[in-house]
């Protein structure tokens, strides 16, 4: 059984493009302080960043929680958003419901969820229309952590 070593969570606000990326930046500096292997940090930050951007673009409020154990890093983004009606579509590369405005800012190219999945060792998403979406990911640590 993995031993939990550290937990921390961040609030992310929908439509707050100005502060978008702050939570993943903090996650990065935390993992860097913990001297986690740079390739693992890279994957964790991509996961955290894409999850955070999904919240900023589509949801109202969310909590991004990071749990570090001696075996893995788990990142969960739980939002109180509109929910995703068709998850299968949302997982397709290039499929997006982003507005022109979002695309103009360089976001919303339909790579978010696929990118999260690609960088996770374990990936789960559950969503309820009208209630919210929870994206859960796990990234395994190598021997040296």
């Amino acid at each position: 059984m993995a031993e939990e070593l550290l937990t921390c969570s961040f609030r992310v606000h929908g439509r707050d493009f100005e502060n978008a990326g702050e939570a993943s930046t903090e996650i990065k500096s935390l993992l860097k302080d913990l001297e986690i292997d740079p390739q693992t940090i890279r994957r964790a930050v991509v996961v955290a960043f894409e999850a955070e951007m999904n919240v900023v673009m589509y949801a109202d409020e969310a909590t991004v929680t990071l749990v570090l154990t001696d075996e893995d890093i788990s990142i969960e983004a739980a939002d109180s958003g509109p929910g995703i009606p068709d998850i299968e579509h949302a997982m397709e590369e290039g499929w997006s419901t982003a507005t022109d405005e979002m695309r103009e800012m360089g976001f919303g190219f339909g790579m978010g969820l696929p990118n999260i999945k690609r960088n996770s060792d374990l990936f789960a998403i559950r969503s309820e229309v009208g209630a919210g979406t929870v994206v859960s990911c796990r990234i395994d640590l190598d021997d040296h952590g």
């Binding site: 930046t25 001297e35 292997d37």
Partner: protein, 432 residues
């Protein structure tokens, strides 16, 4: 891991512990202990901010003289184009070639061709790139090292094309070994560098492996001799060679921070100079911004390479001279273009391997590191947060981390310890 090579030395006797270098260091690589500065090798990116900040002259660049290359049979100078902006206007590039030959080089390389070749390779790279944008220019070795130390996630965005000096080094060896019948090892390809970071990048390339160049000499090391000889050549009109290494404006573009951007007219590019500005832009990229830009060109020095720490002249004067030289020249040189067209399709310009993150030496297992991190957070909470630096660390959070790692004591903070204040008084007492 190989020990890291750096290009700066702190002279302990001359250092008076004034903290200026520590405050100037962008990667928190300097600590001041017992009134003396010391550099943490793993975090140093060879930018030379400490060198510029030190008023006592206690920090110096570890330079080489041309005489140290005397064991080679044939010495070839590959001068950074910045060199051509260092002399009075009547001294032309062909006179400077004369000066370099008088200084002890056996030949001066036609570097413009390599600059053009690498420019084309960069343009092709940008056009073909399908990964995360923007791609980042590899020209400035400090920028490469900054990515390795502070932005490992963005290393894949680095353009993996050899910088022009390396392509020149490779061709110098090939060309002269063929022409003179010498072994490549007998030919020295020597870069005349405007900055110490390039010296370091030749001694120890960021991507590992070996440089094609055999070393470098700083502009200051050859300046006096070249100036005297080049002036003489300009005055008398007597010259060893009629040949000019600067025949077209495009050769000088890189030095004026206006390089390949006009070739990327359909692409969006950013040009950033000055390390604090580069860091700000990298922070933005890390936050997912600037994805709409295709090409990012960064220089650690705010004037570009003309403001490198191994230049002699005032940067504004150098830039003005390079500009006036550029104004007189045609945009391109047909002979150069012919050679570029001949060579470009047959050579590989890609880096043999990608630069990897510079991992810190990891101490302890993860559990221990989490404990250390928690301890650092607790200590940071009782420190004043003023980042005064009197403890010898550049910021309160850095001291907290050092204390948690057992490398400093919380009593180093003057807010927490009267003894520390007294120690500082002793060290920094002014003579009566």
């Amino acid at each position: 891991m190989d020990e890291l090579t750096h290009g700066f030395r702190v002279d302990e006797a001359a250092c008076d512990g004034c903290l200026a270098c520590m405050r100037a260091c962008p990667t928190y690589a300097v600590r001041v202990k017992h009134g003396k500065a010391r550099v943490l090798s793993q975090s140093c990116i060879d930018c030379g901010s400490c060198l510029k900040a030190c008023a006592r002259g206690a920090i110096t660049a570890t330079t080489r003289t041309l005489a140290e290359f005397d064991h080679f049979a044939f010495k070839v100078a590959i001068p950074s184009p910045v060199l051509y902006g260092h002399f009075p206007l009547e001294v032309r590039p062909e006179h400077i070639v004369d000066g370099l030959l008088a200084a002890g080089f056996d030949a001066v390389w036609d570097y413009g061709i390599d600059l053009r070749l690498v420019t084309l390779a960069n343009v092709d790279y940008v056009k073909r790139w399908r990964g995360p944008r923007p791609v980042i220019s590899i020209m400035c070795p400090v920028v490469v090292r900054l990515l390795q130390v502070s932005y490992p996630r963005m290393l894949e965005q680095l353009i993996q094309v050899h910088p022009p000096r390396e392509v020149a080094g490779r061709e110098v060896k090939r060309h002269y070994s063929q022409e003179l019948g010498l072994a490549p090892e007998q030919i020295a390809a020597i870069y005349v560098t405007p900055c110490q970071a390039r010296t370091v990048s030749i001694l120890q390339p960021a991507e590992g492996g070996r440089s094609y160049l055999d070393g470098s000499v700083g502009i200051p090391q050859v300046f006096n001799t070249v100036l005297v000889e080049a002036r003489e050549a300009a005055r008398t009109g007597r010259r060893r060679s009629e040949w000019s290494p600067v025949r077209s404006a495009d050769v000088l573009r890189l030095s004026l921070r206006r390089p390949i951007t006009e070739l990327l007219t359909k692409h969006r590019y950013l040009s950033v100079a000055g390390l604090p500005n580069v860091i700000r832009v990298f922070d933005d990229i890390e936050k997912g911004k600037l994805k709409d830009f295709d090409y990012l060109e960064c220089y650690a020095c705010w004037g570009g390479c003309a403001n490198g720490n191994l230049t002699v002249d005032n940067v504004y004067v150098t830039l003005a001279k390079l500009q006036s030289l550029m104004n007189e020249l045609p945009e391109t040189d047909p002979r150069t273009e012919e050679e570029v067209a001949r060579r470009y399709p047959h050579e590989d310009y890609s880096l043999p391997r990608a630069p990897q993150p510079r991992a810190a030496v990891v101490v302890g297992d993860l559990r221990e590191r989490v404990r250390r991190k928690r301890k650092a957070d607790r200590i940071a909470a009782i420190l004043p947060g003023l980042d005064c630096g009197l403890c010898g660390a550049p910021a309160c959070k850095v001291l907290a981390r050092d204390v948690a790692a057992g490398e400093a004591e919380r009593g180093d903070c003057v807010f927490l310890s009267r003894q520390r204040l007294e120690e500082l008084r002793r060290i920094h007492r002014r003579p009566e």
